[in-house]
């Protein structure tokens, strides 16, 4: 047991504890209550349990330790006994000395009472004597006082009689302060006796005072006087009971007026700023130059306010509103300004001017809390700026897009759609980048106003982008949707010229959507992450305001929608064509086919138009002519092509019917060709889809008619003619073959007498048509 190391300390401590527990009334405050079951040192606590202690001791210690403990304890007990004895002795001594002191006090008090009575007698005699003196002097004093009063009165009368002359003197010497003092001093007398004894005096002095008032007013309004003097004048006027409020109002008005002037100047300044910044980059230079007169006038205004404040110390409220008015007007101007197209440099210039004004004003009028006030206003203005910037961007993009509608009419450009696409792509990407750069400028500026708004700006920009892209999507749909309705209306009545352009626009929009999704959004996201991260005023649970994933999704679906819309529009055009072709003639009384019908030309023209549109906009697909549904396509073609070649080469001894039969048989082994495949953003895919849909429409139109032999042959001829050019334009030959065959089959099914044309005739007619179109082409071109 290592208790040997600190026996002395231990002991002293225990001693002290014991003593303190003896003297302290509250046993619970002893420090070591807590160690209730504490080990061996719990011996000194109140809650000491002897049995437990023994047990613990016996348990924990060996014999030797126990013995040692015993010895120690015996020594301690002995020590304690001596300590206790000593304490008793000490206390006893103290008690004895206290008793002695009390005894002594008792004996000293005995002679005190007699002395006291003697004192009282003496005080009484002093009092009676002083009373005697008072009564004997009273009368004389009374008289003196009366005389004194009369003298004062006389002096006052004298003063009043002298007052006009004195005032006149004061006016001459411009000692207005004295004059006012005199006059106000005489005022009560005038009030009391002005109508009777001092009438003349009163009148004269009032005249003098009127002059004084006039002079004071003049002094107050004259700007040349020092502020001190003006303030004094105001104070004096107030003392003269002059209606100061009206004066105050007048002065305030004057201030407001100057505020208005100031505002105008700001406007001019801004105008000038715009003009000077627009052509070149000298904005800042000219800004600073221009701002000097403005600053001077603001300073002047500030001084005026300062003076006013000194003159009318209780006018703070009005001044604050005045100052806030100034700020409000400034920001109203800014908001107006922001509505126009300005770069953030311009905005910065304006904000900087305002901020300096505000700081200037703040120096004089810190009660107005102008910085905070203007911070709020600036918040609104900057927010508006961000919003309007995005609006302008949106406008730019749709302008770029709508150029498609105008330019082809001028027919100057070869690829209007491509131009429009490039322009709008640029508008989107470059525009967004410019906007970001602009906002960067706002962020990077160390203007006090903007530094505080930084987080807000970041959020606004992010939100702005989010909203912007949503709005852009809406705009896209609007552009295409409008076209949709108008084309539906016009399509039946008007020609196809205007429609074509619109269809192209839809295609441009589709491709633009893809571009936005794949290129613009990642770029912008990157840029935003680089310089517009943080913010977080919105709170983290909402996450960042700009969610590129969502935007991407929106545009992906928009792109698909628009692409489908484009395909729809194109097929609708062809559909109208086909509808006319199939509903007009009487197919049952058709004449023998003499040439390929001209609808084929129109059809091919439409396809060509689509092709040229598509070529301008969409990327070329990978060379996948044979990759797509490879096994399917190649097997069918290898199977059906020999058959068809066979058919072509066959002599005309065979009956035409067997050819048809072969078509059927060939089809027997074909798979169901996937007509409606997913559209991709490639030239080939789109064209193929359109051709497929058109051919399907053709088939449906055919199925609705009944043909005689010649009608059927006409269809056969037209389709045969279509075969080659279609296959040239389309990537999925197998499907086209299939669909063309389907048309012929449908026609044969709907024919009363399905005897096909003999191949040689078919061939000759087609050759004739080809020759004719060749003939026409040089002329056309």
């Amino acid at each position: 047991m290592g208790t040997d190391d600190v026996p002395l300390d231990d002991k002293a401590k225990r001693m002290r504890d014991l003593l303190s527990s003896f003297y302290s009334p509250d046993p619970s405050s002893t420090p070591n209550v807590s160690s209730k079951h504490g080990a061996l040192d719990a011996i000194n606590t109140n809650s000491f349990n002897a049995d437990q202690y023994m047990n613990l001791l016996v348990q924990k210690s060996n014999l030797e330790a126990l013995l040692q403990r015993h010895v120690e304890m015996a020594a301690e007990i002995k020590n304690l006994d001596t300590d206790l004895q000593m304490l008793v002795y000490e206390n006893y001594n103290k008690f004895i000395s206290a008793t002695d002191a009390i005894k002594r006090m008792k004996s000293n008090i005995v002679g005190m009472e007699a002395n006291m009575e003697q004192l009282l007698d003496k005080i009484m005699s002093v009092q009676s004597r002083s009373d005697g003196v008072n009564t004997s002097l009273f009368e004389k004093r009374e008289h003196i006082e009366k005389l004194h009063r009369t003298r004062n009165l006389l002096r006052k009368v004298q003063f009043i009689y002298d007052l006009p002359a004195r005032l006149g003197k004061c006016i001459k010497s411009e000692a207005y302060a004295d004059a006012v003092k005199f006059y106000t001093g005489a005022m009560p007398i005038f009030k009391a006796y002005g109508d009777s004894s001092f009438q003349d005096c009163k009148r004269a002095s009032e005249e003098a005072v009127a002059i004084i008032v006039k002079n004071l007013q003049r002094k107050l309004f004259s700007d040349s006087e020092s502020i001190q003097a003006r303030a004094e004048a105001a104070v004096l006027l107030k003392q003269l009971d002059f209606p100061v409020d009206s004066l105050k109002a007048k002065l305030l008005q004057k201030l407001e007026q100057s505020l208005g002037d100031l505002q105008l100047k700001t406007d001019e300044l801004e105008n000038v700023t715009v003009e000077s910044t627009d052509p070149s980059k000298q904005g800042k230079v000219s800004d600073s130059i221009r701002s000097t007169p403005h600053e001077a006038s603001v300073r002047e205004f500030a001084e005026a306010i300062c003076a006013y404040r000194v003159i009318f110390p209780d006018s703070e409220k009005q001044l604050i509103t005045l100052a806030q008015d100034l700020v409000i007007k400034h920001f109203e101007m800014t908001e107006q300004y922001v509505k126009r197209r300005i770069s953030s440099a311009n905005l910065l210039g304006v904000l900087r001017t305002i901020w300096t004004d505000v700081l200037l004003m703040d120096e004089i009028l810190c009660e107005a809390v102008l910085p905070d006030f203007s911070l709020e206003a600036a918040q609104v203005a900057v927010k508006q700026y961000v919003a309007s910037t995005f609006t302008h961007l949106l406008q730019d993009i749709s302008d770029a897009l709508l150029k498609v509608n105008i330019s082809p009419k001028e027919a100057a450009e070869e690829f209007p759609l491509q131009v429009a696409l490039e322009a709008s792509k640029k508008a989107v990407l470059q525009g967004s980048m410019d906007v970001l750069l602009d906002f960067r400028q706002l962020l990077d500026d160390d203007l006090g106003l903007l530094v505080k708004l930084r987080d807000f700006i970041i959020d606004w920009v992010q939100e702005g982008f989010q909203d912007f892209f949503r709005a852009l999507d809406d705009r896209f749909l609007l552009l295409s949707g409008k076209n949709n309705s108008s084309s539906q209306d016009n399509g039946l009545t008007e020609g196809t010229q205007s429609e074509k352009v619109l269809a192209g626009l839809v295609l441009v929009l589709a491709q633009l959507s893809v571009f936005i999704e794949q290129t613009a959004i990642p770029r912008i996201t990157e840029e935003i992450a680089a310089s517009f991260s943080g913010g977080g005023v919105r709170g983290y649970e909402n996450g960042p305001a700009f969610v590129p994933g969502e935007i991407c999704r929106i545009f992906r679906s928009a792109g698909e929608k628009l692409l489908h819309h484009y395909i729809n529009m194109s097929t609708q055009r062809v559909s109208t064509l086909l509808r006319k072709r199939f509903t007009t003639p009487n197919w049952v009384k058709h004449k023998e086919p003499r040439e390929v019908h001209m609808f084929v030309d129109l059809f091919l023209q439409e396809l060509e138009a689509v092709g040229s549109e598509v070529k301008q906009i969409l990327p070329q697909g990978l060379l996948r002519k044979h990759r797509r549904s490879d096994s399917n396509g190649s097997t069918t073609s290898s199977r059906s092509n020999p058959l068809r070649d066979d058919k072509m080469s066959r002599s005309n001894t065979h009956r035409g019917r067997s050819q048809l039969l072969e078509t059927h048989l060939a089809k027997l082994f074909k798979q169901k060709v996937e007509i409606f495949t997913k559209v991709e953003y490639t030239q080939e895919s789109v064209v193929t889809t359109i051709v497929k849909l058109c051919l399907k429409s053709l088939q449906e139109f055919v199925r609705l008619q009944t043909f005689n032999r010649s009608g059927f042959q006409q269809i056969q001829l037209d389709i045969q003619f279509l075969r080659t050019p279609l296959k040239e334009t389309v990537e999925d030959e197998a499907a086209i073959d299939f669909l063309l065959d389907e048309v012929i089959v449908a026609a044969s099914e709907r024919c009363l007498d399905p005897i096909p044309l003999e191949p040689p005739i078919l061939d000759r007619l087609i050759q004739a048509k080809l020759a004719k179109s060749k003939e026409q082409n040089p002329i056309a071109s």
């Binding site: 539906q488 399509g491 039946l492 729809n568 097929t571 609708q572 559909s575 509808r579 509903t583 049952v588 096994s631 399917n632 097997t635 069918t636 199977r639 019917r657 067997s658 048809l660 039969l661 059927h664 048989l665 089809k667 027997l668 082994f669 798979q671 169901k672 007509i675 409606f676 849909l693 399907k696 429409s697 449906e700 199925r703 009944t706 089959v745 099914e749 709907r750 024919c751 009363l752």
Partner: protein, 413 residues
């Protein structure tokens, strides 16, 4: 068995048997049907074909999705199918073939009581190819057809002979011929429900109201009105809520006729409508199918803008019909060889337009409940069963009737 039945050209009765062609042959149904279809064409050309055909066609037709449908094959191509409304004991449909050069047939098909197979209840020859067919709402044995000889059109009311079960080749009994038409007849409409003597027939240019006497077997023109210049009517629908109103579709609009005055009352402007169908459950609701632009739901009180637009089909949307029982269930058939089941509840947008804007994103989420794509050709015929309104029959051009149940989708509503 399949190859045998489908290549056994002489025994057509065999493959027309719904059991052989329908339920039993699902695993290879696709190919079998192609073969069957093309064989039909071959047969149509009357060319002798030997039975030595390669049995293994390159590649098998891919089955598209599992189908619960029950199939039934017609001999020729066909366009129209109609629910036999008056048959209250069975779920039956009537359909007719469209074959220019062969002898056309009318099939009366009944869904077996277990709902597992389609039984040919009656087979009657019809003199011409059938372009439109409608069953009489009050007599299950009466129906109307619009037919064409190729050069001219005709329309007639037919009665199925009473003793057809015993006769070998029962002939249809013609009750009346609606022979006041000149041009191409498009459809015949029966009085929407109940026994009534009124009929409407629509041809390209005219709308005719007939009075039919089944006992005397005469039909008389009550009134006739021309649709006006440059309006070619294509189809029509009789308003089940207002028996004086008939909607007739023409090239660029839907016209609404008042039968009392025989005047045009109203119209909806939209392009290329194929079919229109009234919502039986809800008044003022009309659904139209348009070639290119899908399906539109109209509230006739607001004819400017459709209440709802559904995307329709990949190619033309040919037919559309509202479920007679379940609100907002619309079925459409298209030339892309699919039948689509849509859920487009209009009540929300009907009552509160403001709510519809807020709700629209969720509603637009997917109105398409299911797309039945197990068809080989364009689907023109579509009919709900009025007896069991969760069952519909569809008819593709290759003459294949498929009866499906939409019960699995009802629970989702």
């Amino acid at each position: 068995m399949i190859t045998k039945s489908s290549l056994d050209f002489d025994g057509f009765e065999n493959w027309r048997n719904p059991i052989a062609n329908g339920v039993a042959d699902y695993p290879v149904k696709g190919r079998a049907r192609i073969l069957a279809r093309n064989v039909r064409k071959i047969e149509a050309l009357k060319v002798p074909v030997t039975k030595k055909q390669p049995l293994l066609a390159p590649g098998g037709a891919a089955m598209q999705g599992g189908s619960s449908g029950i199939g039934y094959g017609l001999k020729y191509q066909a366009r129209c199918i109609s629910d036999v409304k008056a048959d209250t004991d069975h779920t039956s449909f009537i359909t007719g073939t469209l074959s220019l050069r062969e002898e056309n047939e009318v099939h009366l098909i009944r869904l077996s009581s277990g709902g597992t197979e389609l039984i040919c209840e009656g087979l009657f020859s019809h003199p011409n190819e059938i372009w439109d067919l409608a069953s009489c709402p009050f007599d299950q044995r009466i129906f109307s057809t619009v037919f064409s000889t190729g050069e001219s059109y005709g329309a007639a009311i037919w009665q199925i002979p009473e003793l057809y079960g015993q006769l070998n080749s029962p002939q249809l009994e013609q009750i009346a011929s609606l022979d006041a038409h000149v041009g191409k007849i498009n459809c015949v409409l029966w009085w929407p429900s109940g026994r009534h003597d009124k009929l409407i027939s629509i041809d390209d240019e005219n709308l005719l109201l007939w009075s039919l006497d089944c006992l005397k077997k005469v039909a008389q023109v009550q009134s006739k009105e021309s649709a006006g210049m440059l309006h070619y009517l294509s189809s029509g629908a009789w308003d089940p809520h207002d028996v004086n109103a008939v909607a007739a579709t023409c090239e660029s609009s839907v016209q609404f006729w008042d039968l009392r005055t025989m005047k045009k009352a109203n119209s909806i402007e939209c392009a290329h409508i194929r079919k229109a169908n009234y919502d039986v459950k809800k008044k003022h609701m009309l659904v139209t199918a348009e070639d290119e632009s899908g399906i539109h739901v109209w509230d006739l009180r607001k004819p400017k803008i459709p209440v709802k637009e559904l995307p329709g089909h990949m190619h033309w949307t040919w037919a559309v019909t509202c479920n007679p029982e379940y609100d907002g269930l619309i079925l459409s058939a298209g030339t892309d060889s699919t039948v689509n089941l849509w859920l487009a509840p209009t009540s929300a947008s009907d009552e509160s337009t403001s709510g519809s804007i807020a709700e629209s994103p969720t509603q637009q989420a997917d109105p398409l409940l299911n797309s039945y794509s197990d068809y080989e050709d364009s689907v023109y015929g579509l009919a709900w069963s009025s007896r069991e309104p969760w069952i519909f029959a569809s008819l593709s051009y290759d003459g294949r009737v498929v009866v499906e149940s939409i019960k699995p989708f009802l629970s989702r509503k």
